[in-house]
């Protein structure tokens, strides 16, 4: 089932974000922590679940597999999906500005 543009899970969003630079398993987890400024600590089960799903949906590909480690990279589909999600989230934040006005 390809990705249908529905809201992404936090895990999916951050994996795509981190894969803007090709990366591999363990490093990716650190990268996600870094990108999220320590807010998102991803468990390995979640990470590999997301990687498998994104690969099926063609949002990421395995750039290099030397048998020892796989290097993943985001695809153009992945980038456009990520951009769309970013815009959606942005709109959400913008719309939420009324909270501040009200207070």
């Amino acid at each position: 089932m390809p990705y249908d543009g529905s809201p992404m899970t936090e895990a999916m969003y951050y994996v795509l974000l981190a894969l803007l630079h090709p990366n591999h398993g363990y490093q990716l987890m650190n990268e996600i922590e870094e990108v999220s400024k320590g807010r998102v600590k991803m468990g390995p089960g979640t990470l590999y679940g997301v990687l498998a799903r994104l690969q099926k949906d063609n949002l990421i590909i395995v750039l290099n597999d030397d048998g020892r480690r796989k290097t993943y990279s985001i695809t153009t589909d992945g980038i456009s999906a990520l951009k769309k999600e970013y815009e959606r989230l942005n709109d959400m934040v913008d719309d939420g500005a009324i909270i501040k006005e009200g207070s």
Binding site: M29, G43, G45, Y48, G49, V50, A52
Partner: protein
């Protein structure tokens, strides 16, 4: 002392929380999870340790790199069974959870959900077919009670219960996987310290029942063969509360034979069949074959485990043994001695079908004596 300890499987592996907290409980007692089989879980005995266990569903075999990443995060693979992988981590490491996103974790249940849907459908169809076959066997000749008290009845009954149990667990499993998947999808994480004690008690109960059942399924036919005895001497018949041919006949009886057979079954623990016959001195037969006429009596006696079965069995006995005279039905007689009494009197054949308390008796007499005489003999014999 053995290095390993074995326990029955607590519940299906997809019940993550219960299994995980049970494994942790065992580890704290010094029994460390080693392997999970179809029935048994193997623990290795050692030092007590506080260990976390997590069960993970992996559709594809994990790569070495993936397992290394798990390890670097503090999670060591203990074992795997089909798509289930069990990881452990020492409590003091305080490792990040395997799954930090319940919604993502719910996607791992997708394949299990599909698998279980398929297998449940197959089981439901198979069980319905098997039950239909069993019931057909019971009702085929429209003598269900008679079939139930025969020797194979124990197997039939327990098979029915077993089939229904399989059906219920399959359906329950299907719904429980759906429930876990849905609750994860709603963002509710797995409760890793779910109470396992009730499940343990229930599964122990099921296993004990199962073992007892298998044991008795083996024993029951053997026991019924042991209990099934045949005698052909008049002595063996003497001690039984049965009416004898020489009691019925007023004339002298010659050449007579005896045949006694005991049977046992779960629903009718005491059953016997007595057959006695001979020749009675008397008037010349119409066909001038001699001055002797044949006489015989056959008694079938059943003591039932449940009184409620008596009427059904009585009807079945009539259905079964009254085949040759279908157009003349046995007549129901009101009696203050028997709960039910049916008689059939046609030329020199006299049949009595009677029940009292949890006992059912069928007597068929072939001879020249009166039916009333036989009924009063039965009453006397059985202390009515």
């Amino acid at each position: 002392m053995s290095k390993f300890a074995y326990r029955f499987l607590l519940s299906d592996l997809w019940e993550f929380g219960k299994n995980e907290s049970w494994f942790s409980y065992m580890a704290a007692k010094g029994m460390h999870l080693q392997n999970v089989g179809n029935w048994l879980v193997t623990f290795e005995k050692g030092e007590p340790k506080n260990t976390r266990y997590r069960i993970e569903i992996l559709e594809e075999n994990p790569t070495l790199e993936q397992l290394n990443v798990y390890k670097e995060c503090g999670w060591q693979l203990v074992m795997n069974k089909q798509i289930f992988y069990i990881f452990s981590s020492p409590e003091e490491l305080n490792s990040t959870e395997l799954h930090t996103d319940p919604m993502e974790q719910s996607f791992t249940f997708k394949m299990l959900d599909k698998q279980i849907k398929k297998s449940t459908t197959v089981i439901v169809i198979a069980v319905i077919l098997a039950l239909a076959l069993l019931l057909a066997h019971l009702f085929l000749d429209s003598e269900p009670y008679l079939n139930l008290i025969r020797r194979s009845s124990f197997t039939t009954i327990t098979m029915t219960i077993a089939y229904i149990y399989i059906l219920c667990t399959a359906i329950q499993g299907y719904f429980s996987v759906k429930k876990i998947k849905n609750s994860l999808f709603m963002g509710i994480p797995i409760n890793h310290s779910r109470n396992w004690k009730l499940s343990y008690f229930l599964s122990a109960l099921v296993y004990v029942t199962l073992i007892l059942w298998i044991f008795s399924a083996i024993i029951s036919p053997i026991y019924s063969v042991i209990k099934r005895e045949s005698y052909t001497s008049p002595k063996a018949v003497e001690n039984l509360p049965a009416i004898r041919i020489n009691e019925i006949e007023s004339g002298k009886i010659y050449d007579y034979w005896h045949d006694l057979q005991y049977n046992w079954s779960l629903l009718s623990p005491v059953q016997y069949r007595i057959y006695e016959g001979g020749y009675v001195e008397g008037e010349m037969q119409e066909d001038f074959s001699g001055a002797y006429s044949p006489a015989s009596v056959i008694t079938r006696y059943y003591e039932l485990a449940f009184k409620g079965m008596a009427e059904g069995l009585l009807k079945d006995l009539i259905h079964h043994y009254h085949r040759d005279y279908r157009d003349i039905e046995p007549v129901k007689i009101e009696s203050n001695k028997f709960d039910l009494l049916y008689i059939f009197d046609y030329e020199n054949i006299k049949s009595i079908y009677a029940s009292f308390d949890n006992k059912v008796i069928y007597v068929k007499y072939y001879g020249n004596e009166d039916l009333d005489k036989i009924i009063s003999l039965i009453e006397k014999r059985y202390g009515l």
